[in-house]
Amino acid sequence: MHNFLSLLKNEHIKLYSRFSTWTMYIILGSIILISGLIVFFFSDVGIEEYGADWKTELQAENEEYREIASEDEFMEGAYDADIAKNEFYIQNDMKPASYDAWQLTLENAGLSMLITLFTIIVSAGIVASEFRWGTIKLLLIRPISRSKILLSKYVTVLLFAISMLVFLFIFNLLVGAVFFGMNGVNPSIVQATATGFEQVSIFSEIIMEYGLSMVNLIIMTTFAFMISTLFKNSGMAIGLAIFLMFAGNTLVGVLSQYEWSKFILFANTNLRQYTGNGTPLMEGMTLGFSVTVLIIYYTAFLLISWLSFTKRDIAGS
């Protein structure tokens, strides 16, 4: 155990000794800051505070929506969801919460895509770089098994992803709090579900958003990890993982007429299809089915990485 922690320490030092790692944090931080600025200066929806007679204000808002919808046929139905949401507030006698740090955090959950991208880059480099630098030789002639070294690298990748997610979360709250303030520790918001509207805790909503994006992140980074250990080439691993991440859904769409397409990895990475108002991609697919498929792919990726790393001859590089 002692030497595993030392290995983790080594991997972290190597990762964070490079400027490129820090630029990932800088890019993510800048985007959060800019998104806060954009909402603050340019967006007028939902930021204004509602006064004491918020019910009349909401009704007026709905009138406005209906008017726009009836005037312009292109806008017909465009505001239906907003109108329904406002009516839900009125019926349940709930004053809508003003836009705050939590809302910004929830809206920016989509940035976890960017984290996936960054983690893929780190994952693709962590083994391949040792080959590129030639340091793999000096790394593997220590009294430590190759499995342990590989594991320390994989765990480092996961810890990087987690630290980026934590950074995303905290920096969002921080920027949000500065621009919009905070409505308590755990305010609730109204979310659309399959059966209408529901009042939910924003915190659990955020956790779910972040959690669901972790699935895709872990699978795709592990895939990149496998490709890079297999071919000792980080560029190839990054390219392939990102290409598949974007082309995956199209691929599933094209092949969806075939029964077996539900076994394709990308038909299962989006677990949102089983939540709230989502619908499963194909009939007969359940959460249990997708989780099983994901676990099988995941195990295969790890197994292939492990076999190729522990059995390979380190020659001519």
Binding site: N10, L138, I144, D313
Partner: protein, 305 residues
Amino acid sequence: MNPAMKLVNVRKNIGKKEIIKDISFEIFPGEVFGFLGPNGAGKTTTIRMMVGLISITSGDIHINGMSVKHDFKEAIRHVGAIVENPEMYPFMSGWKNLKHYARMIPGITDDRIREVIDLVGLEKAIHEKVGKYSLGMRQRIGVAQALLHRPSVLILDEPTNGLDPAGIREIRQYIRRLAEEENVAVIVSSHMLAEIELMCDRIGIIKNGEMITVQEVEGSSPKDQDLKVYIEASPKEDAIQVIQSAFETSVMEEDKFIIIHTTKDLIPKINMELVHQGIQVFEIHSKQSSLEDKFFEVIGENTIA
């Protein structure tokens, strides 16, 4: 004495190619073993097997009695090595690089790291990024990395590569010191005899994946026993006559020189005899090089296999 390292019928095939063909030899504690062969002979390949970077197709290698094949961690524990160029992390300082390797083996203190840095003479540059190091400095930090954990077996693949003459001398000196004072078994590979014969006790010559011969390097006294003596004298024919009749040795000719194999103490006697017989002696010089002859005999003119 138990060997520090023992190779038993080691073979390596890569694809269909036989790279190493049945090599066996032993290296003992306190001994410096030279691993000599032309480019492509299989030195690095053998060393890679010793340190477990590549698998051993058949046969086995034992280090301090432990099999590299079956007990890798125990076998490698007391080995320090450089395999080809000792690449380091270019974006980290020399110190951070050494710390990195130090963390992988328990019990290496900062004091020990400083001691090793001192030994290889890198104190001044140790906090600079390795990416800025010269070739010789990289070689030194490579040696430092190999010495951190006080190995009992030290494997150095062409350690003098890129070093200036002073650097080569230093390396030679501390390799000798490690062997003599700390009883370390050292394996040094090279493709240049002149470079390693001064520091080795024994030299194994490898060619085309086969160990051709293992020879003791004669120490200073036995060294004088087998000399190749070049004599320039006039008239040459008379000189040959004199030498043959007085010393009963076989005589060869090369250009203007008469060449005989003899011992050091005979040289003045030969000289005296020649002068005594009224022959003009212009030059006498000797070469001690049975090993060199052997090397070139083995290597041939066309060195790349």
